[in-house]
Structures are given as C-alpha cells and as structure tokens.
C-alpha cells in the first residue's frame, strides 16, 4: 500500500456506513454492493483524506488489532473495490 495514494469513489458511486460495514450504490448498474467490512473502513475514507497506511494506523490505534492483519485486510478490500470499479486511486502530490 502506497503512502502517496488516496482513494476516491468512481463517478456514479455512493457509499454509506451500515452495521455490517459499507453499502455501495452504483447507479451505473444500478447495483448495490454489500461489503461486510465492519469497523475496518469508514465511508469518509473515500473522501481522499487518508492514505491506506494512515487508515491502518488509525484502525490499529482504535481497536488494538495486529497491524499486519489489518494491513492485509485493508489491501484486499481496496483491491476488491477497484476490481468492481467502485473506487479509483489518486496520487497525493
């Protein structure tokens, strides 16, 4: 995971937090995506304010979870969301 990259929602995609994790609405389908990520990622993460490493740090600090495992899960989630076309990467200048 790069410290120079943030993540934003693709055009036509919205997200909100639910008890199970994140609910994505892709109007290009239209399609709903249910991601049971629980407390791993806040919907605000896709505002592009945090990089993935910063997210991992903040999650580990809040929940006292093993950093390597959190990092691995966050990576998998971001890869999955990118594959589905729901998010895209943006370089931080």
């Amino acid at each position: 995971m790069s410290s120079g990259t943030v993540y934003r929602l693709a055009d036509g995609v919205q997200v909100r937090r639910e008890k199970f994790g994140l609910l994505f609405y892709d109007y290009r389908g239209p399609k709903l995506y249910f991601l049971p990520s629980r407390d791993l990622i806040e919907d605000k993460f896709f505002d592009g304010t945090l990089t993935a490493p910063q997210l991992v740090e903040s999650v580990c600090a809040e929940h006292d979870w093993p950093r390597q495992e959190v990092s691995s899960k966050v990576s998998q989630i971001l890869e999955l969301l990118k594959t589905k076309g729901l998010i895209h990467e943006q370089s931080v200048c």
């Binding site: 055009d11 909100r16 639910e18 609910l23 609405y25 109007y27 709903l32 249910f34």
Partner: protein, 343 residues
C-alpha cells in the same frame, strides 16, 4: 434471492419515492395518486428543504421524484438543485409536456435522470390515457432533452392499450436514444376505476413475460418480479423492496411503505415535523410490513424469483395484505384458491 443484509435491516432506504405535488397539468385516467387539482397541506419550499435535509442526514442515495407533475411546482428545479448539493441523485418522472429548452438546460446534470411517461407509441393510444395533445407535447420535451444529450428513459405502464405497441415503443425509444422502461399497472388512485378495463389479461401478462426475455435491454423498475423469467433474474430485485430498500413521501409529507399504498392504515409518520430515522426504524407499520410473509407462496417453485409478488396489488384487488400477487406468472392453484376464499 433474498439478501441477508437487507433482511437484517438497513439504516435507511436506498431510495425514496417522493411525490412532490398532487398538482398536474394532465389528468391521466390511470394516475396512481389521483393527481390534478391542488390540495391543501402540500409541503412548502422550506418544508421540502427539510425533507431533503432529513434524507441527506440519513444518507439516502436517491430520490425517485414524481407527483402529480413535478415541474408544475414553481420551486421544483431549486429543490432539485438543493438535493444535488446534498449529493442525492434525482430520478425524475415527468409527463414531459412542460420541458422546454431552459428546463432541459437545468436538467443537464450528472445527478439527474429523467423518465418521460408515454402510454403508447402513437397519439391515438397515448392520448386515450393521458389526454389530447399530450403525446405531441411529450415528444417535444424529449427532443429538447435529446438535443442536450441528457440520458432519458421512456416509461410505459403496461395496459391493454400499450401491450400491442411494445415493439413500437421500443423502436420509438431507440430512435430517441432513450431507454425503455415498462412498469406495472396498479389499482391505486384513479387506477382503481380504470383497472378493470385497462389491466392486461393473464394471457397478455404471460406474453409480456416472454417479450421481456427477448428484450433484455428493457427495464421494469423492479415492478415485474412476479412475472420475471429466470433469465432476467440478475437484472433486478426479486422481492418487494417496501420498507426494506425504499419508502414513499407524499406531497403532504406523510411517509408510506410505497407509492402504491398511500392509504391511511399504512401511514407510518409525517415529515418534516417527525424525525425520519425513528419512522424508518421503529414505526409499527414498517415493522409489520418487513415481517410480511406470503406463506401460501412459499411452496411454489417460483418463490425464489418473486417472494409472492407485489403486496400492493394483492391488497387493492384482494383487500388484504399477505396474499399472493394476483398477477403471478405461475397462477398457481394455491393463489387461486386463496383468492376465491375471500368474500
């Protein structure tokens, strides 16, 4: 296909059907909300903004906006802009007759989707339902939208009049660069009076189901899951989304399970004076709707495709909730025998 996350309950609807006015410049004989004249108590501009605020606070993704005719409201375009400021997508259902170049310009926005209603591919069929001159005016509106390359869908309610013109409607939509959506006729509003002579026969419904399978690009607004063939299963919902994925707000702010159940017994609350979140989460109307099970359908081979169909049609025709959709494709003996037991 039921979805575990939906069944466990979402924090808010995904979309909200919002009928912004009862007023309309037409008098369609099948109007689901009996629109036309002004009625007392319609929400003011400020109250509408509060409704938008409430939906934004609850992170509702989309408004499906209708009425009446939304553009009859003088403040409608400003309200639409306000919803966009909050990041809410607006799918606007309109008769298209009031759309001119200026309005089309305001609609040219990435959060706007337009649906123009036509009930036939010709003025003869369309105007029988929508009134003289409405076809010509709607086509003019569609031209203004096409000129600006605005994504448009033409919506047709499946009736005895539109059924023979489905191919022609598909061709008309294609010629205008528009999608075609065919939605289900329901006996609510003025539809109650026109139901008997406009609703399609069982034979026509079966033929329509086959037609849908041959026209995978035609959408149905999730209103035909009761007749969906297996091959269209992946295109949309296979169950009623009322109180699980959607609900309806009336022009006077009342909250209902859906646009077709705007009856006193189904009123769950009133906006903007009540907070929306407790209505969604805790109203007894919504709770009982979520627990609704069409038990007589559970043994049917089609149950996973439709979960008993549209409760609103069952309610209006059979006078009770929890009964099978009378438009069911299987038209099974169970449904018939249950229905015939109602006096």
């Amino acid at each position: 296909m039921s979805n575990q996350y939906v069944e466990r309950g979402l924090s808010a609807p995904v979309n909200v059907t919002w009928e912004v006015t009862y007023r309309c410049n037409l008098s369609c004989i099948h109007c689901l909300s009996d629109s036309g004249e002004n009625r007392n108590g319609e929400l003011t501009t400020e109250q509408c903004r509060k409704v938008i605020d409430a939906m934004s606070a609850n992170k509702v993704f989309q408004f499906s906006i209708g009425g009446g005719e939304p553009f009859v409201r003088e403040d409608f375009l400003d309200l639409m802009d306000y919803a966009h400021e909050k990041g809410i997508l607006t799918c606007i259902s309109t008769n298209g007759t009031m759309i001119d170049d200026e309005i089309a310009g305001r609609l040219n926005h990435k959060l706007v989707y337009i649906q123009v209603s036509l009930e036939g591919a010709t003025s003869e069929s369309n105007d029988t339902i929508r009134g003289q001159g409405s076809f010509r005016k709607a086509l003019k509106g569609l031209e203004y939208l096409k000129k600006r390359d605005i994504e448009v869908s033409i919506n047709t309610v499946l009736t005895k009049l539109s059924f023979p013109e489905l191919d022609a409607l598909a061709a008309l939509a294609a010629s205008l660069g528009a999608k075609l959506r065919v939605s289900r006729f329901r006996p609510s509003g003025r539809g109650k009076k026109s139901w008997a002579h406009l609703n399609v026969s069982k034979k026509q419904m079966l033929a329509f189901s086959d037609w849908l399978s041959e026209h995978m690009g035609v959408s149905t607004g999730d209103s035909f899951f009761s007749v969906t063939h297996e091959d269209r299963k992946a295109l949309g919902l296979n169950m009623c989304g009322a109180c699980k994925l959607t609900c309806c707000v009336s022009p006077t702010g009342e909250v209902y399970p859906c646009a077709f159940l705007q009856e006193k017994e189904f009123m769950a609350g009133k906006l903007p004076e009540m907070a929306f979140a407790p209505i969604w989460a805790n109203s007894s109307v919504f709770e009982s709707f979520r627990e609704l099970e069409i038990r007589s359908c559970e043994s049917c081979t089609r149950f996973e495709l439709c979960h008993g169909g549209c409760p609103a049609i069952a309610y209006h025709t059979l006078k009770k909730l929890g009964l099978p959709d009378p438009g069911c494709l299987a038209n099974c003996v169970t449904a018939k025998s249950v229905a015939s037991g109602i006096t």
